[in-house]
Amino acid sequence: MSTHPSFFMLDRAGLGDAAAKAQIAEHLETCGVCRAHLQALAAPANELALQRIKRAPSPARPLVPRWIMAAAAAAVVSVIGIGLANVLSDRGDVVTAKGAPSVAVYVKRGDTVFLWNGRAPLRANDTIRLKIVPEEMRFVEVRDASGAVLYKGELTPPETTLPVAWRIDEQGEAEHLTVWLGRAPGAEMKKHVELVLPKEAP
């Protein structure tokens, strides 16, 4: 194992952390490599990169709402990513009548959570989670391609994020989920939407 301090310690020292500075002071006296690392941190930053960053979207609003991040953190399964299906009118292809229930798909890929656009292929190990705006409906079932029930539970208006998430595997070309809605537990369930989630080729 290296006798150098970790880069973590060096970087903390370089940013002015007094405790880190004290820990590595003796080592720095005899190590030109670590001194060079600290000197590189003090060099002028790449202004071109700064210009590119400034052209990026404003940071004032996070890409993903806080509630989604909180839900993701709380979920036992590492969660989320989305796509809208059969809803959210301003996102392109899929539009429903005002007042109709809607289903959105959230996708978590690595550290990023985003709303699925209804077309983009998902990757192995992405996790998906559904958010449902139930309107008059109060009960949901999510089924796989064979009709097996993956989840069933009650829905609470104005919207319910299901407490389960599903991880995308490498098998097959797409995941098929159907969402069935009913007005009450035990009442007739009607298929509301079929989600076909294409997978990226390995």
Partner: protein
């Protein structure tokens, strides 16, 4: 956040972020992309919350996960190329050899294992430091590292004639 603050934030943190990304990714352009993405997230967090208590740990955690995403997005390599997955720790600390090794094992280990392994072998962090950055115990870190060693060893044995 106004522009002067962005400039100040950039000059303070970007060199750390850029070097961290360069250690992880062999392609300079890709490393720069991940560095910029990490900084933008840092910028967002500061803009929203006003402060980040453990800036360096946060940078390490986020940039490592973004780098893992990049590594895992690459096409799978033929199995024959995985024959050097169990280099010694000293062989893989930083440098081109370390990055090449990382690209190979990225197709073999889980994201969690990769994260811990990268922090340990590329950034030279000890178990306690990794625990702080990832918000877990030293024991958990040790367990993951042991599992990585076992998996890589098994893989090597399988590939050896």
């Amino acid at each position: 956040m106004g522009q002067p603050q962005v400039d100040e934030l950039f000059r303070r943190y970007y060199p750390v972020i850029r070097q961290k990304c360069a250690r992880m990714l062999s392609d300079p352009a890709e490393a720069e992309d991940v560095a910029q993405e990490t900084f933008i997230r840092l910028w967002r967090e500061l803009a929203e919350d006003g402060a980040i208590a453990t800036q360096v740990g946060w940078i390490y955690s986020i940039s490592t996960r973004l780098a893992i995403d990049r590594l895992r997005q690459r096409k799978r390599r033929p199995r024959a190329e995985l024959d050097e997955t169990t280099r010694s720790k000293d062989d893989v600390e930083g440098g081109a050899a370390g990055r090449e090794w990382l690209e190979r094992i990225a197709q073999v280990l889980s994201a969690e294992e990769l994260e811990v392994l990268m922090l340990h072998r590329i950034d030279r962090m000890n178990q306690e430091e990794i625990g702080i950055v990832l918000g877990c115990s030293d024991r958990q870190v040790r367990r993951v590292l042991t599992r990585c060693d076992e998996r890589l060893q098994r893989l090597k044995e399988r590939l050896e004639p």
